[in-house]
Amino acid sequence: MAMALMLSISTCFAEIKNAKEETVHIYGNCSICKSTIESAANVKDVVQVEWNKDTKMAVLTYDEKQTNQDEILKRIGLAGYDSDKFLAPDNVYAKLETCCQYERAAKIIAKIEASKAVNLAVEEKVVAPILEIKTEGEQLQLKEVFNSYFAVKDALVKTDGTLAATKAVLLLNSINAVKMENLTKEEHSEWMKVMKDLVFDAEHISETKDAGHQRDHFTSLSKNMYSLIKVSKQETPTYYQFCPMANKGKGANWLAKEKIVKNPYYGSKMLGCGKTVETIN
């Protein structure tokens, strides 16, 4: 085995001109790592890398007129393997086989001053002072319903049918937990109108994992939530948003707490499609 390896190395080396040889340390665990590292690094007639999984040392042989050590180590880094010069991107490391995930030195996080920048997603989550205690009871009930609705919406933005189904169950529970006596007059009358349909849509969304099917029900769910939230005072503004292409081109709406448009009917395929048509305070 070693002989065969030696022979193959010597024949490979014969093709690299202006050969420069260096030994460097590359992190990794097993033979899968070895093949990943070497296939990322090797370039026919230009670069040949031989990594030893026990010593974690690699012998680089390369044509110094055509490339340099940095280029080779960068390729290895982008394949998920740290060296002393380059750190692999975290997301690539995370995708390595579990057996390959070598131990990485933790970074020393520096102290950073608070950023003055506006993070558009965060901007709208400013908490307003609590309203009169008398209405807090009712507020909490409908607030739960709305929060569960937003959770379903966010799951659909991610096109995660399984998550949407789970959140729809919570929505159903919060709808059923509402005590109509505790609602205000306007909320009560609106609640009477939409409750049955809310239950219907929430049930259907919870019973399937197919995002497409869930989105069909989300159209009517959103419409009813809209009429409900219009009569129910909330602490922070809610945005009523519209996408003209949803619902087979007929267009559909949804409610969101963030101003930046994230489309629940198309998810990442057309995340930004749509605009805010109304701000409900």
């Binding site: 750190l87 001053e113 558009l120 995002a211 003209p244 994230k262």
Partner: protein
């Protein structure tokens, strides 16, 4: 310049006395004003001397010609402070003319640097002085506006700093350590050749970029129907970019390190401000950062309210000021600029220590993009936005091609698969769009000024590389007249299949993006296909100002207009406006040449063509090696009609000679007697591009014979294999294959009804 001296009307009676008093008064006023102004305007004159010279570079494996200024590429960074007077001496040491345009600067028209519009070119071995006051601040850049010089090194940073006492000075933003970066590209091909190849629809760049999208690749990706439908709609395979570049640079280097600024070493926790200008000739760049979020604080040299994003795309000629933070100690984080087509990138490592890499953007899913284009394109070439009313880059239709957002490509995907929409954790990456930009100050235009509304439709044709506004190129359109003092509002709709960075000289415009009175000020707007954007500006500086797509090869093809102020004073630098205009128009009227010849065993098959925006003069020949094979030459002079240019009527001349060869046909399909053995005829006819890109031809000879022909060339079977076929009513037919070896050479084999089977080598230019 305002007039310090008011006009005075003198009454004839008291003229003598009054005139004396007036004389003294006026002079006193003048003297006071001059003293006053000299204290205000006696700011620094900042002088730069730029020596423009030919040079040889070795950027990508071959020694090539480039242009260096003061011995460097990019050109030196020019820095000023608002209030300075800039004085730039340009010494042209090239053997050709040159010019320098100051992108986004407010200045008198004659300093704008557009040859044949605002000045005559700077001739070889002469020096031209640009002199103007700096009345603004921000990150800008400068570049040659002559020919294609911008592609080979004539680009550089142009930074104007705020006065520290300025009320718009932002603490924590304007006082950070800063680095100007100009992004650019390098190609080993001569840019004139690139321009020619683009006009000849040579798909060699696609081969280098692996974006040929052949039938073979379509089949293995499960997209045969997509490819077929695409060609049925008469589209050629499209990429987001046209040109192949060997290298991408940040300040002239593909990879560099930023370890300290102004002598201070960068360490964990530090914030750095990057003044980024896209000096590329045709590339858009995605900007991403290994150390986390990017905060955008300015755009096109104008402040915007800080907005935090995960990534942004910078259009050709745009500038963005961004702030990034170094999150950890002893680590240098990669700031990456990747071309929109994902084939290449440049990096700068910010900080001191081990380099933290950023995941590169993965290759595009071309067939997903093709499918999207099929849905968006009607048979007549018009685009259909399906009621989406898109604007301001809010909806990126290309997202279907981005694996990092919509997941990896899946071979042979079933359209009815309920799981085809994959959940993707990266789907909530925040990408900057124009609707997120807000000016910190009110930018509303003067209310009393009259409004002039203009509408433009960007039009284009990939197959013939014709790019225009309202289907008219610069040389085909009149100047657009505007009046000083009026508000000009322009609505632009992009009816073409590519995005375009539209740039206005001499003015900033408000981009109406829902931020009301705080609409951001820009000087270029990137419009994606089917988007509509509205911009407005106050016409406050007279002159002739260019408005054009900043993709260099589109601009040279005529995609632009000239805004001209009515009743402006004549430009002292243009003594002969008519001659200057002819030279300006010559840019898009140029003819492009292509030729190829197949040296095969059964004869020489070839063609040569000279074509420009609307005209084509071409010859095709089949020359056998002996009389029984025959010789024929067909020449056509045609004019393309219509926006899509599918129709081309022509007149021509057909000559052939043959002595009793194989496959003798006495009559053609219509029973007319065939003149195949000796023919010398004038013809009139028409070409029409049919679905599947088959060219149908109908021709009448002056002897009354009629011929119909169908022909398809260069059908992409695999990445390197092309197929052609032809058949006509003279009962002739041909079919063949060509294997592309390199840019100029291919190996062929074909069967021709007149000359039989043959194999050979094709050389093409």
């Amino acid at each position: 310049m305002s007039h310090f001296i008011k006009n005075r009307v003198l009454s004839p009676c008291n003229m003598r006395m009054k005139s004396l008093i007036v004389f003294i008064k006026t002079n006193a006023i003048i003297t006071v004003f001059v003293l006053f102004s000299s204290t205000i305007f006696a700011q620094k004159v900042v002088r730069y001397d730029l020596y423009v010279k030919d040079t040889l570079v070795h950027f990508a494996g071959k020694e090539k010609r480039a242009i260096a200024v003061n011995g460097q590429i990019p050109m030196p960074t020019l820095t000023f402070t608002e209030g300075d007077t800039a004085e730039i001496h340009v010494h042209n040491q090239l053997k050709e003319e040159t010019s320098l345009h100051w992108h986004g600067l407010f200045l008198p028209n004659k300093e704008d640097g557009v040859p044949n519009l605002t000045q005559m070119p700077i001739w070889p071995n002469t020096t031209h002085i640009y002199r103007f006051p700096i009345i603004q601040n921000g990150t800008h850049w400068y570049h040659s506006h002559s020919g294609l010089q911008e592609q080979i090194g004539m680009y550089g940073n142009f930074v104007m700093l705020k006065r520290p006492s300025s009320p718009s000075f932002r603490k924590g933003i304007d006082d950070l350590p800063t680095l100007p970066i100009v992004l650019s590209e390098w190609t080993n091909l001569n840019p004139e050749n690139i321009h020619r190849m683009l006009h000849n629809a040579n798909d060699y760049p696609a081969l280098k970029k692996n974006s040929v999208q052949s039938y073979g690749e379509a089949i293995s990706a499960g997209h045969f129907k997509t490819k077929m439908k695409n060609e049925w709609k008469r589209m050629m395979a499209m990429d987001v970019s046209d040109v192949y570049y060997e290298k991408i640079f940040m300040n002239g280097l593909p990879s560099s390190e930023l370890k300290s600024i102004s002598g201070n070493e960068l360490k964990g926790g530090d914030k750095v401000r990057l003044r980024i200008s896209n000096g590329g000739a045709s590339s858009y760049f995605w900007l991403t950062y290994a150390g986390g979020k990017i905060t955008v604080v300015a755009n096109d040299g104008n402040d915007v309210e800080p907005v935090e994003v995960d990534r942004l795309i910078i259009a050709v000629s745009e500038t963005y000021d961004v702030i990034v933070t170094i999150p950890a100690e002893k680590t240098a984080y990669e700031f990456l600029a990747t071309t929109e087509d994902r084939t290449n990138s440049a990096s700068i490592y910010i900080g001191n220590g081990i380099k933290q890499l950023k995941s590169p953007l993965p290759r595009l899913k071309y067939f997903e993009g093709m499918k999207m284009m099929n849905d968006m394109m009607k048979m007549n070439g018009e685009l259909d936005d399906m009621g989406m009313a898109m604007s301001l880059n809010q909806m990126d239709m290309n997202v279907v091609m981005y694996p990092e957002i919509t997941g990896d490509a899946k071979p042979k995907q079933d359209d009815n698969d309920p799981n085809r929409y994959n959940a993707n954790a990266l789907g909530d990456l925040v990408t900057l769009n124009y609707a997120m930009l807000k000016s910190p100050t009110i930018t509303a235009l003067p209310k009393e000024a009259p409004i002039k509304e203009l509408y433009f439709k960007l039009s284009g044709n990939m197959n013939r590389y014709v790019w225009s506004l309202d289907n008219k190129v610069v040389s085909e359109a009149d100047k657009i007249l505007i009046k000083k003092g009026e508000n000009v509002r322009i609505v632009i709709y992009n009816g073409s299949m590519m995005r375009h960075p539209m740039h206005l000289h001499g003015h900033d415009f408000r981009l109406l993006n829902g931020q009301g009175q705080n609409a951001p000020l820009k000087n270029i707007v990137d419009i994606m296909p089917m988007e509509t954007d509205t911009l407005e500006f106050n016409a406050n500086v007279e002159g002739d100002w260019f408005f054009h797509c900043h993709i260099l090869y589109h601009m040279m093809s005529g995609m632009g207009r000239v805004f001209s102020y009515e009743n402006q004073l004549p430009n002292p630098l243009i003594p002969n406006p008519k001659l200057a205009q002819r030279k300006l128009f010559a840019d898009d009227r140029g003819f492009h040449f292509m030729a190829e010849n197949d040296f095969a065993t059964n004869g020489n098959d070839g063609m040569a063509m000279l074509q420009n925006t609307r005209w084509s003069i071409g010859s095709e020949w089949r020359l056998g090696y002996h009389d029984s094979h025959g010789y024929e030459v067909e020449t056509h002079i045609g004019r393309y009609m219509g926006k899509m240019q599918w129709l081309m009527p022509f007149i021509g001349f057909d000559w052939r000679y043959r002595k009793f060869g194989i496959d003798e046909q006495e009559t053609n399909l219509f029973g007319q007697s065939n003149s195949k053995d000796l023919r010398s005829l004038v013809t009139v006819g028409v070409n029409y591009t049919l679905p599947l890109l088959i060219v149908g031809q109908a021709e009448i000879y002056h002897d009354g014979n009629i011929r119909f022909q169908l022909m398809r060339e260069d059908m992409p079977i695999t990445k390197r294999l092309r197929m052609s076929f032809m058949l006509n009513t003279d009962k002739e037919y041909m079919a063949g294959f060509r294997y592309i070896v390199n840019k100029n050479m291919g190996i062929t084999s074909h069967y021709d009804s007149d000359m039989g089977f043959g194999a050979g080598i094709t050389f093409s230019y």
